[in-house]
Amino acid sequence: MPEFASWLIFLLPLLSFVLIVGLRPFVGAEWRGAGVITIVSILAAFALALTALAATIGNDAHDLGYRPHDWLTIGPLVIRVGLVMDSLTAVMVVVVTGVSLLVQIYSTEYMRGDKGYVRYFAYMSLFTASMLGLVMASNLVFLYMFWELVGLSSYLLIGFWGQGKAAEEHPRAGDAAKKAFIVTRLGDVGFLAAIVWAYVATGTLEIAEIHAMVAAGAFAGVGVTWLALGIFAGAVGKSGQFPLHVWLPDAMEGPTPVSALIHAATMVAAGVFLVARLFPIFEASEGAMTTVAWIGGGTAIFAASMALVSNDIKRVLAYSTISQLGYMMLALGMGAVGPAIFHLVVHAFFKALLFMGAGSVHHTAHTYDMRFMGGLRRPMPWTFATMLVAGVALIGVFPLSGFWSKDSVLHAASINGLIGGAEALYWIAVLAAGLTGFYVFRMLFMTFAGEYRGGAEAEATAESGAAAGPPPRRRLHESPWIMVAPLAVLAVPVLFAGLADLPWDLFGFGAFAMTGFLTGHVETFSTSVAAVSSAAGALGIVVAYSMYVQGLLSPSVLGQRLRPLHTLLVNRYYLDHLYEGVVVRHVLIRVLGLTAEVIEGQFIERAVNGVALIGRNVGRIPVAMQNGQVQAYGAMISIGIVLILAGFWIWG
């Protein structure tokens, strides 16, 4: 496959972005052609991505080995641009273009009639291009550029409804966009510092060259640990890991297809991808690996616990995403790159499906609050069936894709004793798997089972505090086929992606084909690990069933019994309060703001005014001298001549 074709994979969506932006002044804000342009360009990119994957599989080294090109030469510093097309990138481009394609198709219907239709597809194209550039970049500067572009398009899309008339319906969209941008930027500072440090320490920005130096031991010790931790800081921000996870639930203010593409399948996975891409650096430092594993494992259970009590269907999915990303980080920290990326791929499929399903539910119920849903199974059979499949896959039920990926992660955690506390992390991950079973089925039961509880109209009544009359009956309906079709298409890989990494050689391409393709390292399978995690998931499902269907255990009574815990979870561990109330309001505004104000007022302003004052007063002297009296000028000239002559006489 020629290198030019690989460049096209990310240049095509970029071209689509440029084209839509260029055409925007000549077409209406709701021009349907924008969607067509985006879909066609991403379809072409998807085809190229599949070709690239096939070429990479066919290549013995699993790397097409493109050479980087010189871009900027400044003295001894040469900045190069280049693409890499190895197994990791090939898998990522297929996932990104594939999910993006389905999300774009879904969006043409979901965004129909929106005043920002053209703008929406421009942003989506930009995002897809940036994400593809990110996974294909071969050096750190190039990668960082796309990393920030991804952040920018995420900001634009979260705040998509944050301006104009739409802002009245979505009053929090603007704040959510700013929050996402600023919080991820905190991590990016670490990443940028790591890039600078990498250049200082190794003299190169090419990822492959840095890897070679680390592998050869030319760059080792505590410097590598700091490099790894800086990179990981960037990953923590983008992938919503603790303690920078707070932006992801708020990012749900954006349009739902955006959540499906960016905040479930691709951008948030960029952090995991980054750690996997730079894995040799992490592998060289036990401290960094331990940090990654513990942050990942901690986030997995921490986010899952918050998903237990959320009533907003999109927020449940957002916490679930954070939790699953935690699993991936845990696997990476355990040294299991293959399982981590396998889980990333599978998760991209079922989580995108779940988000698009939530959007489909919203299409009928006009609310995301699950307390006002219920009974949607009959009117929406397709949405129900596909979401059920995705939910079951998310829990990791045999034999769906999630089973194989989650168990490869858990298996990695159970066997790897390289880092401190591996045993504890394994049980944390199992517990999180149990919680997953509970919150997924809680969500499914609240949405689809029982009686319909009135949707957006009931929500409005409840909010206004009026007496709850019988909700006005609106005809509940399945979403249009163009929204359902992507769900059905996504259900296929959700059901069967596990076949790519079976522990047995059923189809003649080997056992653990996918993880082997990614890392060249053959995994193993443990029945006991699979049994334990399946049991945990099943237990979660049973508890959810008894609470939300059988009514054996009322959720509100349980909430009363465990009031402190429930309050803690509902308030999201008070972390948002901590960040907004204490860090922002007190530390930033009070302390930093007041300090800045004092410095500004007492030092900077005085210095500036002082300089101006000197200039003004000095200026008054020549003004007074220039009085228009020729005789005064003559006197000055005479005095000057006398002084000069006297000077010559004395010193000359």
């Binding site: 003004v623 220039q626 228009g628 009296q629 020729v630 005789q631 003559g634 006197a635 005479s638």
Partner: protein, 102 residues
Amino acid sequence: MAGLEHYLILSGIIFSIGLVGALTKRNIITILMSVELMFNAVNIAFIAMTRFVTPTLLTGHIFVLFIITVAAGNLALGLAIVIAIFRNRESVDITTAASMKG
């Protein structure tokens, strides 16, 4: 017997009187007269230097003749300007002619 220095001192005194007059008087006519004093102080210095330093050359004399000629032209021009100013302002007070100040 008067030597070179006596002439030069006399020249300096007259020049200074002329300079002070030119710089302090308000009446333009007086200023012009003071300027004439300064010319003639210079003339005295030239003649004295010629007489005592280079008695065989005529450079100093020629210079002085030129200065007298130019000074006459100067004065004529100056008086013409004075008349123009006087016609405009009904005054020969130089401090009032300060309309060009910054």
